[in-house]
């Protein structure tokens, strides 16, 4: 499986409130609240670190889940967030610096 790189879409507004990440789409003002796993992915979305590295170093450690299951779930989640224009996904590192999170 090739690596997945992902970055925050700069066209969303985002804030972390008490550990809960709230995100509003700049496209249609839809509001999203990320769960803990998705929040970790959002905070790690630098466009340069591949998803499998993030899963191994953060998701598996923080949530105590097997790497294979965690990677599959994380891949589905990243693609879902990309479908909502929350994340930008690529099969190569994403050069543009991300912004939008506080």
């Amino acid at each position: 499986m090739s690596s997945i790189y992902f970055a925050r879409n700069p066209r969303v507004a985002a804030r972390n409130l008490g550990g809960e990440m709230m995100i509003m789409s700049g496209r249609d003002s839809t509001l999203f609240t990320l769960n803990k796993t998705a929040t970790v992915l959002w905070q790690s979305a630098d466009g340069k670190t591949p998803l499998d590295d993030i899963v191994n170093s953060k998701i598996c450690v923080e949530f105590d889940v097997p790497p294979v299951d965690a990677l599959q779930d994380a891949t589905d989640l990243v693609r879902d967030l990309a479908n909502h224009d929350i994340l930008i996904v690529s099969d190569s590192p994403i050069g543009e610096p991300s912004r939008g999170s506080r």
Partner: protein
């Protein structure tokens, strides 16, 4: 006298202390608006916005019944199946094309006010609102949550601002609730008065009357979910988002569970 004739073909509708002049060649249409917005007819000679209403088609077949609000090159376009409007803020002028009905222009006014409020940290909210003892209280929720019910139950010392759409303007770091003519089931215009917002309640019907605190996250999420905002504009969306967080940091927000009788107002003081 020509000047007098021209002046008679416009009225000023003043909601939230923002005068909007509406011009039309039809005296009957203006008379209908004068009746529709009774209590909100102003006399400003310097309106913030002037709309020329061109009466004509009742339907625009290429547009569906959802509201579309877009901005290009400084010109806003609002459209729905029953109207089309353009507004250039830099010129403070706009044009509305619709049939002679009060509903289309009402939608345009809601959109315009939602856009202008956002720029100053305010908003329109799906909520009833009322003034008691000089302080304003907002009661928000989805349809059937109880906005109209709590408005109907208000005792005589309460001044109703609206049973459907609340108008919140930020003035010198104070959130002020204004009356609106935007009505719900009660079909009664709110009083055109204003007071500082003391609290926001999210309504829930139950078997008892009680007030529970909401976390900042829950309060912000509910506030954003119940705001009226139509524009597909990244910059404004960010302002709406930030304004909601600021409002929640300054104004107490609660969940109000209520049994639908007048005793609920014993909690609102």
């Amino acid at each position: 006298m020509l000047t007098t004739e021209i002046q008679s073909l416009g009225i000023v509708i003043e909601i939230g202390a923002m005068p909007v002049q509406v011009n039309s060649e039809s005296p009957d249409f203006l008379a209908m608006l004068r009746e529709r917005y009774a209590g909100y007819i102003g006399s400003s000679k310097d309106p913030e916005i002037t709309f020329d209403v061109q009466l004509g088609e009742s339907r625009f077949p290429e547009t569906d019944d959802s509201v579309q609000v877009t901005c290009k090159d400084g010109c806003w376009t609002f459209q729905r199946g029953d109207f089309r409007a353009e507004w250039k803020p830099s010129k403070r002028r706009g044009v509305i094309r619709q049939s002679a009905n009060p509903y289309s222009i009402d939608a345009v006014l809601r959109i315009v006010h939602s856009l202008t409020l956002v720029k100053n940290g305010g908003f329109l909210l799906h909520s009833a609102s009322a003034i008691r003892n000089g302080r304003a209280f907002l009661f928000s929720g989805v349809s059937e949550a109880g906005k109209t019910t709590i408005s109907r139950l208000a005792p005589s010392d309460v001044t109703l601002l609206t049973d459907e759409i609340s108008y919140v303007r930020k003035q010198e770091n104070v959130y002020m609730a204004h009356g609106t003519p935007f009505t719900g089931e009660l079909a009664k215009l709110g009083e055109n008065v204003t007071a500082p917002v003391a609290a926001l309640y999210f309504l829930s019907k139950g078997l008892e009357n009680r007030i529970d605190p909401l976390s900042a996250g829950e309060a912000t999420r509910l506030l954003l979910s119940n705001q009226l905002f139509f524009a597909e504009d990244e910059h404004l969306v960010r302002q709406v988002f930030d304004s909601a967080f600021e409002f929640v940091s300054r104004v107490p927000v609660f969940r109000l569970t209520f049994f639908p009788d007048a005793r609920v107002w014993e909690l609102i003081r």
